[in-house]
C-alpha cells in the first residue's frame, strides 16, 4: 500500500497532464473554427491547476516505480518553466497564427503534449522513461517547426529538424545500448553504483557508450559542433513556435542532462567535465561570432540561442548545486526575455517585399512605434546581460557557480563572450533609434502580443531589481 501511494505520488502530475491533454483534444473538436485560441487558453488554465496541485513541499521526494520516476522540487521548478513558456507563447501567438492562416487547435494541443514529454524527461530516473519522454517532446517539436505548411521555409525546418532529431536520437540510443551492455542496468542510481564500484572503470564499452550518449545530448541542446540544424530550424519555424523551441525543449534537455550526469555519471566526472567544458567554450564563442554576421534578426536570435546554451553549459560543468540552480534560474529568466523578443519579432511586417525580419526593417521604429521599440530594447538589453535587467542576474549566477568550482577561466571566457554579444543586440536598438526607415514597415501591437510582451518586460525589470524572488524559487533545488 505504501508502495502504491509512493508510485501514485511520483506519477500524479503526469497523469493529471495526460488527462488535461486528452480533454484539450476533445475541446479542439468542439470549438468553432475562428475561436481556436480558446484551446490554448484552456491549456493555460490546465497548467495552472496542475502547477497548484502538484507543488511538492521543500525537500519532498517521491520516487516511485522501482526508482524510475521522481517528482521533487527539481521536476517542479522545471515544470513551472515549461508552463510559463507555454503560457507566454500561447498568449503571444494568436495574432501571428491568425495572420498566417494557421490558427488551429492542434498547435496548442501538440505544445501541451510536448510539455508532458518534457516532464517525463526531467522526472526520469531511468533511461527508458527518459527516452520515451524525449521522443514525445521531439515529435511535437518537429510538428511545430513545420506547422506553417503553406510556407516552404517552415516545411524545410520541420523536415530538417526531423532528420537531425532522428539521427541524434539514434546516436543516443546506440550509446544507451553500450551503457546497458556494460553496466547491466538502465537506472541512474544503479549505473552510478556500477561505475562507483570500479568494475567497469577502464572498460572501453562504457566510454564509447557515454561518448555517444553525450553527443546525442549535445545535439539536443544545440552545442557547437552539433548545432548546424538550429539556425535553419529556428528561422524557418513559425515565430511563436521558434520562441517556444529555443526555450522549453532546451531547458528540458538541460534538466535531463543534469539529472543524468549528476546522478548516474557522478563517478565518471573526469570523463564528461572536460568534454562539456570544451563544448561550452566552443558553443559560446561560435554562437556569438556567427550572430555578429547575421542581417536577419530571427536568424541572429537563433545563433544567440546557441550561445545562451553555451552559458548554461558552464553551470553544468561547475559540478556543484549552485551550477544547476543557476541553470534553472537562467532558463526561467530566458523564458521571459526570449519569448518576449520572439513575440515582438512576430508582429513585424513589411509589405511583402523582403523577409519580414531583416535588420533594416527595424530602422526608425522608435519614432513610429515607441512602445514596440522600448519593449524590444528592454529584451535586447536583457539578452545581452546589461546590469539592471534580468539577463544579468542569470549570467551572474552562472559565472558565480563557475568561480565557486574554481573554473575562473571558464567564467572569464563567458564574460568576454557576453561583451562580444552586446554588439549584435545593440545593433538592433541602434537601428530602431538612430537610423532612418528605408521602407514601409508595419508593427501593430495587437492585444495578445501586447499582453505577452508586457508580462515579459515587467518580469525582466522586476527580476532585475528584485532578484531574490526568483532566486528563492530555485534555492532549494537538489537533483
Amino acid at each position: 500500500m505504501q508502495n502504491f501511494m509512493m508510485n501514485l505520488q511520483s506519477i500524479f502530475p503526469e497523469v493529471l497532464m495526460t488527462i488535461f491533454g486528452l480533454i484539450l483534444v476533445v475541446l479542439d473538436v468542439m470549438t468553432k473554427k475562428e475561436k481556436k485560441s480558446m484551446v490554448g487558453y484552456f491549456g493555460i488554465a490546465f497548467l495552472l491547476i496542475t502547477a497548484l496541485l502538484t507543488n511538492p513541499q521543500v525537500g519532498g521526494k517521491y520516487l516511485g516505480f522501482n526508482n524510475m520516476l521522481m517528482w521533487d522540487n527539481f521536476s517542479y521548478v522545471f515544470f513551472v518553466i515549461f508552463a510559463l513558456a507555454y503560457t507566454l507563447t500561447t498568449l503571444g501567438s494568436v495574432e501571428y497564427l491568425k495572420d498566417k492562416g494557421i490558427l488551429k487547435g492542434e498547435f496548442y494541443t501538440i505544445m501541451f503534449f510536448s510539455i508532458l514529454g518534457m516532464m517525463f524527461m526531467v522526472s526520469a530516473f531511468d533511461l527508458t522513461i527518459f527516452y520515451v519522454g524525449l521522443e514525445t517532446m521531439a515529435i511535437a517539436m518537429y510538428v511545430l517547426a513545420g506547422f506553417n505548411k503553406n510556407e516552404m521555409r517552415s516545411s524545410e525546418a520541420g523536415v530538417k529538424y526531423f532528420i537531425i532529431g532522428a539521427f541524434s536520437s539514434a546516436m543516443l540510443l546506440f550509446g544507451m545500448t553500450y551503457v546497458y551492455g556494460a553496466t547491466g542496468t538502465l537506472n541512474y542510481l544503479q549505473i552510478s553504483e556500477v561505475l562507483k564500484s570500479g568494475l567497469v572503470a577502464d572498460n572501453m564499452t562504457v566510454k564509447i557508450g557515454l561518448i555517444l550518449m553525450l553527443t546525442g545530448f549535445a545535439f539536443k541542446i544545440s552545442a557547437v559542433p552539433f548545432h548546424m540544424w538550429a539556425p535553419d530550424v529556428y528561422q524557418g519555424a513559425p515565430t511563436p513556435a521558434a520562441g517556444f523551441m529555443t526555450v522549453a525543449p532546451k531547458a528540458a534537455a538541460f534538466a535531463a542532462l543534469i539529472r543524468f550526469v549528476y546522478i548516474a555519471l557522478e563517478p565518471a566526472a573526469g570523463l564528461w567535465v572536460p568534454l562539456f567544458s570544451i563544448l561550452a567554450v566552443l558553443t559560446m564563442t561560435y554562437g556569438n561570432l556567427v550572430a555578429l554576421a547575421q542581417t536577419n534578426v530571427k536568424r541572429m536570435l537563433a545563433y544567440s540561442a546557441i550561445s545562451h546554451a553555451g552559458y548554461m553549459m558552464i553551470g553544468l560543468v561547475a559540478m556543484n548545486p549552485e551550477g544547476y540552480r543557476a541553470i534553472a534560474l537562467y532558463s526561467l529568466i530566458y523564458v521571459f526575455m526570449n519569448i518576449g523578443a520572439f513575440t515582438l519579432l512576430g508582429i513585424l511586417k513589411n509589405k511583402g517585399m523582403v523577409e519580414d525580419e531583416r535588420l533594416e526593417s527595424f530602422a526608425g521604429l522608435a519614432k513610429k512605434n515607441p512602445l514596440y521599440a522600448l519593449g524590444m530594447l528592454i529584451f535586447m538589453f536583457s539578452l545581452a546581460g546589461i546590469p539592471p535587467l534580468a539577463g544579468f542576474i542569470g549570467k551572474f549566477q552562472i559565472f558565480m557557480a563557475a568561480m565557486k568550482a574554481d573554473m575562473i577561466w571558464l567564467a572569464v571566457i563567458g564574460a568576454l563572450n557576453s561583451a562580444l554579444a552586446c554588439y549584435y543586440y545593440m545593433r538592433v536598438t541602434i537601428y530602431m533609434y538612430f537610423n532612418e526607415p528605408e521602407y514601409e514597415v508595419e508593427a501593430t501591437v495587437g492585444r495578445s502580443a501586447f499582453i505577452t510582451s508586457f508580462i515579459g518586460v515587467v518580469m525582466v525589470l522586476f527580476v532585475g531589481f528584485f532578484p531574490t524572488a526568483f532566486i528563492n524559487f530555485v534555492r532549494h533545488l537538489l537533483v
Binding site: I110, T128, I129, G158, I208
Partner: protein
C-alpha cells in the same frame, strides 16, 4: 559441433546483412534499394535468433520487413521514379571512403588492442525459471517498465495528431 554451425551461421548472416545494406545504399532505383533492405532485415533477424532473442527477431520481421517496408514501397511506387542502375559515385567520394575505411581499420586495431572486442563475448540470456523468452519479455514490460510502455502510447498519439495536422488539406 554445434559451436561450428553457429559460427558458420553467424558469418553467413552477417556477411549477407553487410553486403545487402551496401547494395541498398548504392542502387539508384528505390524499389531495388527497398528489396535489398528487406534482405538486410531478414539477415539481422537471423542474427537475433542466434542470440536467443526470438521475440526481437519476430518483431524485426513483422514490423520492419512487413509493415515499414510495405509503406516504403507504397511511397516509392506513388512517386514513380524512372532511373535504374548504380548511383554515379564521384572520385572524391571514393577517396573519402578509402580514408574512412583506413580510419575504421585503425579504430578496430586499437580496440582489439584494448581487449574490448574480446570482453564483449556473446552469451545467452538468463531467463527466469519457467518462462520462455517472449513471456519473460512481457512480464518485465508490464511490471517494471510499465511507465515507459504507457508513455509510448502518448508518444504515438502526439505523432498521430501531428501527422494529421501536417498532411490534412485545409
Amino acid at each position: 559441433m554445434n559451436e561450428i554451425f553457429m559460427n558458420v551461421g553467424f558469418w553467413v548472416l552477417g556477411i549477407t546483412a553487410v553486403v545487402a545494406s551496401l547494395f541498398m545504399v548504392t542502387r539508384e532505383n528505390p524499389v531495388h534499394s527497398a528489396l535489398w533492405m528487406l534482405l538486410t532485415f531478414f539477415a539481422v533477424a537471423g542474427i537475433f535468433i542466434q542470440l536467443d532473442a526470438e521475440y526481437i527477431a519476430a518483431i524485426q520481421v513483422m514490423v520492419y520487413a512487413g509493415a515499414i517496408l510495405v509503406l516504403y514501397m507504397f511511397v516509392v511506387m506513388l512517386l514513380n521514379p524512372k532511373s535504374t542502375g548504380f548511383i554515379k559515385v564521384p572520385a572524391k567520394v571514393i577517396l573519402g571512403s578509402v580514408v574512412a575505411l583506413v580510419l575504421f581499420l585503425q579504430f578496430v586495431m586499437t580496440l582489439m588492442g584494448t581487449g574490448v572486442i574480446k570482453s564483449a563475448q556473446m552469451s545467452g540470456m538468463n531467463l527466469p525459471e519457467g518462462l520462455s523468452n517472449v513471456k519473460a519479455f512481457g512480464a518485465v514490460m508490464f511490471t517494471q517498465y510499465i511507465v515507459p510502455f504507457e508513455v509510448a502510447s502518448i508518444l504515438l498519439l502526439v505523432a498521430m495528431i501531428g501527422a494529421i495536422v501536417i498532411a490534412k488539406k485545409d
